[in-house]
Symmetry: D3
Subunit: 254 residues, 6 copies
């Protein structure tokens, strides 16, 4: 109901008056191995964000589809911007929203590589007392369930991501390619040598671009994960709506 | 067929090998008066861009939905980033695409406020010999037809834009609000005093946010405009495909 | 009488107390074909600006002689700075003036390529409520007269510019070269292909560097244009002087 | 033997000819609760780095004592610079070293808040093929040992850090304050609400500034941790010395 | 003869082919006490630069009239830009000139506050091997003569500057105000407390804005200083013309 | 007693409450010829700064060991960062200190190349009314004594610097190399041609990297210089402590 971009400015006035929190989906367009589409991360973020359409107390912003993916650049189709540019784009978008009176948001994130930039956005907006906008990575909210469902360390285009994509965009999973994804995958993210993390690019440690056990994916696991994460997101939105704005701002010097 | 974000990296390798040109839709999320949705500009850009899906020689990139709209900031729902941030986001996205071998693109633009940034992107990419990526404003390609169809100077949320939206997203036009849009509209863009242009913000000269004659809009006019502009876009793509890359780069010193 | 640079600081205190508005001439040093000097644009801007010396309510700032002319770089003698640098130079100059209490100015501009940067300067200064400083392009104020005088689309080193130079710096026109300028000129600015603007550099579409009908120039036409534009400038200054400062600042959110 | 700053330029020429790798200690000056000195992180980094003095194949650079510690700013004595400034300072320092022919380094890091900036430095230097300079966080190399020694999740001024400080700067531990540190400590870093990480500043979740079980610290545990981590660092240096430079640079497009 | 801005592009081609060196006058518009005009520094620079018009081996660029004068901001009429903006403006102007084949220049400077920025410009252009462009402060070339002529430490709007202005712009000196300038002047620049330099702004140590003995000025001293400095400038130009370009670039690592 | 980095946050609260002024040592790691260590400048700065430990009214910050030394880059072991990065690092460090209530500092500087950046830091902090932090170059405070002690113009790794190093770090002087330093030294800094300063890099005018008469150095002269400069520093600290904060901020417009 309340996709901001589908409202007129007059309707937006009403919606923003009523809403306590905005939802901004951000992701990436980057390689996810041979079985998942490049848009995996922004598609998942958008799917979670759109579940907030049903809420009167939230508005859903348009999806930012390109993110911080330089480490996937050796694989075809990967698009990326620098961390600084991504951070500025997200921060300025939210600063413009705040001019209309909305001072809370959730950054619904589909891509781990965006995390540092999003934390930085959230810190800046909070320090300025412009907006309280914590990032929410969908996979962080359902780590325990994923551990139950799959035996994988994973990290990219793995059973967890593949399942969720299977659920939200069934038309875009290539089940016959999951085998190829897995046979060229590494078990875990990066490469650690005596305590130093050395996997700068995915190509340094994964041949197919995947990390984990993609063949363990299933649409049913995807449905479970999606629903569980969605519930967490809505619980977070409830919590945010309740929280007084003054309690959101930074604490003073001790 | 070839929305890049829906391809896997393996498929993207094939698609990018075959394709000669990319299409990047860019727009804005900003007030368009009481009758049109905030997403007008990125929705139109996306609609034009997606007509290139049918072509084997093109790939369509995901839509960038927020642009340079500071001058609409007094109207609810308007989102914006600075010109520098928008320019960097678009340029870096295209630079990452060029790493996969694609060196031609059309920037399908739905928002006049983006024009200067897009020209700057195109200049930089050309001067670096990274990519030849001219901006294409859909309305610039069908100016004569619009003059035939409507008697308006227009410029924003006018008969021309309203008609095209009516055609591409019939569900999002609010026909009953066109009257209100027009009664609060100005005739032309900005305000000129003795040769100086003084309309810094839309609110300086338009009460409803619209500029032009929205009530003159019709779905039929929208269909005509859309088809004519689409044909121009495809003619441009044909021309670009044919043009040797060497002919695209800057000329040397005289 | 009141060229700021010729005043002492003590006299400037008086002049700035009395003056309501500053006049800043900006232009470029760039190719203007074989018949006009490289300094055309800053010379014209300076000539217009200096007509404000006679006014007690204005101070005239020193001329900034280099501008945004990268698109002329293939022609000998063209100097340029980036848009960002030009914008910062103009903006900071005006911000320093504002510290002395002057909060209105006209940016008397002689070069179209500077326009975007000047609009951006004016927006920033207005949004900060530092200064109200609209750009004024001399040619925009006399478009109708030029249409009467010449049959040309024009755009650069054309009949209009040549005439004005002939009037303000008769010693620097090369009448015998107007023919060469015209024979190598294009009719209009740039090159449009199916709605995309493709003339990135002047050299892409003009052999001589001129655009228009330089041979149509005459000192008499120059005198008419100069006087008409000067009158518009002074009307603008009158208007600015009258306008209350509060009416100059941005309007609030609707 | 080879602290670079103690060499003359003539001696440095010899040392840099002989050395294959540089060691740059970086840390912070920030609150570490009531029992540890503000310089904890740069002191630990320096202590580890100086163990490389004994090696002919390494040079040790001077310590950078201030880092990315904005999240500790509410506690007295915390110094910090922005992530961008820290990153530039470290990167430019290493770029200047590379001019003398040294193209490998280890960034011996004592502060978790520096990690993102250091990864970014390492990526840039590698992508430019200027230097291969992986960050090494001392605590990452001895996680298993710490798990054996202490029952804590920890994260800041905890048993692990306190022990190492006790070992390297016995004069600067305040054992009588460990109780106070612990009584005001949180168990783990930050605060997670439905998958969103919400502890922006340490003050948001820890009263004393510590996170973990400081009272579990002991000089003996410190000695074990220090020696184990030092061995890992030297193994990393050995590995780096052996690794051909060509194997260090980024891989090409697939 | 060869003021670049007065040439056409065709003539500039010839002039730049023939010329070995460019001359760029830079100064400021800032308070010079009650007896000298605000434009003192750019007027002097321009006067010296224009003496190079007579040379076939030099081209004179247009004058940049605003500089790094923040420390004079409390006095009416002072204009200034930041050091970074000034540096960028000068450097980019010269980089654009270099595209036409001119790789030597003298930065004829009239304002001490510009010095650091100009040294930085010169270093960058030299390190890039774009241009060899040493700054030349007119007063530095005639220090001995000034010591002979006047008994002053001086530093700003002093006998030396006043004399030169008297010579180059006799119409703009206010001889009756020299007394007032001197009575409110300090003897030397700034204020030193136990080795620390504490005069941040001129207003901190000079009431009139002048530093030195303005009343010692005379048109005759001005003529002597001007001629002596002009001779030094031309000797420098001769030296530069003779010097092979390869001898101008930075030396390699020892 | 009060090295900030050795205090806990609790102790720092007390120390900062009691202290009126901070002392920040900054220097460089750069060639100082064959007789002095690369760390000369930061070692001297640190030695002077640490004499303030004894004072209850001061806190000593950790030493920043790398500075603006690009002009020494051709000599082995020289490290450097850009002026902008150095300035940001110092300024942000002090801004973070000011959050704890300390608004006065002395920038104890050991390297002439840092001076412009430090002046800029001091100006910015003062203009913001964040902190009054004048730079103090140790050699500037004892110029007369140095003139008495040595017959040299000097400027780098000269008798003055060598003597002070001999005093503060006797273990790091190489007395047998002073001869070599001097035989390859220039007499004075840089190279002046007709008033233009042309020595961009030390290598342009000094073979050994030294400038002056290193053989004139002695530990006794070093002791005299050190004590005299230390006394000046403490007199400056006394003066600063006494000075009311309001007297430190910039004066208003005249």
């Amino acid at each position: 109901m309340t996709l901001l971009a589908e409202q007129t400015t007059t309707e937006a006035a009403t919606a923003l008056e009523r809403a306590d929190v905005a939802v901004l989906p951000v992701g990436s367009t980057e390689q996810h191995g041979p079985a998942l589409p490049l848009g995996m991360d922004h598609m998942a973020a958008e799917a979670f964000a759109k579940t907030a359409q049903e809420r009167d107390d939230a508005v859903v912003l348009p999806t930012i589809p390109v993110g911080v993916s330089v480490h996937h650049r050796q694989f075809d189709g990967t698009l990326y911007v620098s961390e600084g540019t991504f951070e500025a784009f997200v921060r300025e978008t939210l600063e413009s929203l705040a001019e209309h009176g909305c001072q809370k948001a959730v950054l619904v994130n589909g891509h781990g590589g965006n995390s540092n930039a999003l934390r930085s956005v959230a810190r800046t907006l909070r320090d300025e007392e412009t907006m309280f906008a914590p990032p929410w990575n969908w996979w962080d909210s359902v780590g325990d369930l994923a551990d139950e469902l799959f035996e994988e360390e994973g990290g990219h285009a793995d059973a967890m991501e593949s399942s969720v994509l299977w659920h939200v965009r069934e038309d875009l999973i290539r089940p016959t390619e999951l085998e190829a994804a897995e046979s060229g995958a590494s078990d875990g993210w990066g490469e650690s040598i005596h305590g130093a993390s050395l996997g700068f690019d995915t190509i340094d440690f994964s041949e197919s671009g995947a990390v984990g056990k993609p063949t363990h994916a299933s649409p049913d696991a995807g449905a479970q994960l999606f629903e569980a994460a969605r519930d967490e997101l809505h619980a977070l939105l409830d919590w945010l709506v309740e929280r007084p704005l003054e309690a959101c701002w930074p604490r003073g010097h001790v």
